[in-house]
Symmetry: C2
Subunit: 221 residues, 2 copies
């Protein structure tokens, strides 16, 4: 890839992939950017612009070939490769993520789960034994772990991330409520759940204010 | 609020709120945009521009008043109000979200949790009984529920969202892997976890390609 693709475009690729996967499952063979636009509530010109970042995916005659487009976007997302993934934290969130069967279909192989809580050690989660944190670094080294998923409290997240990087993980999927400071060759994707809930709260609040502003004299409804 | 605030600015507000909360907890009283910039890895001019959307928050003399800024941003995010929240789906993810104590501190009051699985009915999650789905609509009506959190499979998410809207919820925090189609006065915030994991996979993939491109002759390292 020669030119820099914007974060916004990258952010939209998984959604294209999801919709194309559903079309494929429904047996749809071709789709025009207009139809995709209606389905996804995105303008057709946005779709064409986004796809042009990757050479346009050869829309010819009537629309795009769904299977081809799905495979091409999957490949850009690296979903044609296998990734070994471990989960740090075997609480509810760690268990929820371990049980997303769908990830395995996309090449994310769940190989280990770790927790500080002794009571959880040895317990099986989706066929994988919960291990003590002390074994984490050796496990990463011995099992070619690419991705670590952090579902631990923010207090321990930063030091744990440091240990993971030291042991050689290439990417961290971070659910801890803190920003991590890792070397530039380690990829981090944050899922800050409360940031997301606060955005929702903002939208409710803004809607209330706009509604009030639009109808200042009304008392009810 | 008179002018339209961009989605990007709104997206950043919760992060400002988080950092300011930490500064406040550490007893920091004032902070300059330069210091905040270093801490948050955002340019100082970005910070000033973002804040100018809300009147600038009166930076005077040496920096911003941390407590004031924290309170003002919290209020823009609607965190000075109470919201009643229910969770649909009492699986691992639903339980994980119910147990985030921190939400209650921010005014999100967890009042109900619902599941189709009979075995879970009556089970207590953080002091709240799991109820059958059939009771959901009446519960929303009787308990002034503002926010519903959807942690159910995509197959049932769309119809459940319809029922929630009908019963009067104002906002949906959607973890189901599908886009919901709700009226414009219902706010939706999506957390598509696999979209997030796929972005991480994209970053790994791109890093590999750039590294290969930069050192085409090297075999190792």
């Amino acid at each position: 890839m020669e030119k820099e693709i914007s974060q916004a475009v990258i952010g939209r690729l998984p959604r294209y992939f999801r919709f194309l996967g559903e079309l494929k499952d429904q047996g749809v063979e071709r789709i025009s950017s207009q139809e995709l636009s209606r389905l996804m509530h995105v303008t057709a010109s946005q779709i064409r612009q986004d796809f042009n970042n990757f050479g346009g995916f050869g829309q010819q005659g009537y629309g795009y070939n769904v299977e081809y487009l799905y495979t091409a976007i999957g490949s850009i997302l690296g979903l044609d490769k296998k990734h070994h993934l471990i989960i740090i934290g075997a609480g509810n969130l760690g268990q929820a993520l371990a049980n997303y069967m769908n990830f395995e279909r996309r090449g994310f192989i769940f190989t280990g789960i770790f927790d500080i809580n002794e009571k959880l050690h040895g317990r099986m989660i989706r066929g994988i034994q919960v291990r003590p944190m002390e074994e984490m670094q050796a496990f990463v080294r011995e099992n070619d772990v690419d991705i670590a998923v952090l579902t631990i409290p923010k207090e321990s997240a930063v030091s744990t991330a440091g240990k993971l990087v030291e042991a050689g993980v290439r990417a961290i999927w971070n659910f801890a409520h803190v920003d991590l400071d890792v070397p530039a060759d380690v990829q981090v994707e944050n899922v800050h759940l409360s940031d997301s809930l606060f955005r929702l709260s903002y939208m409710i609040n803004r809607y209330d204010q706009e509604t009030k502003a639009a109808a200042p004299k009304k008392d009810s409804q």
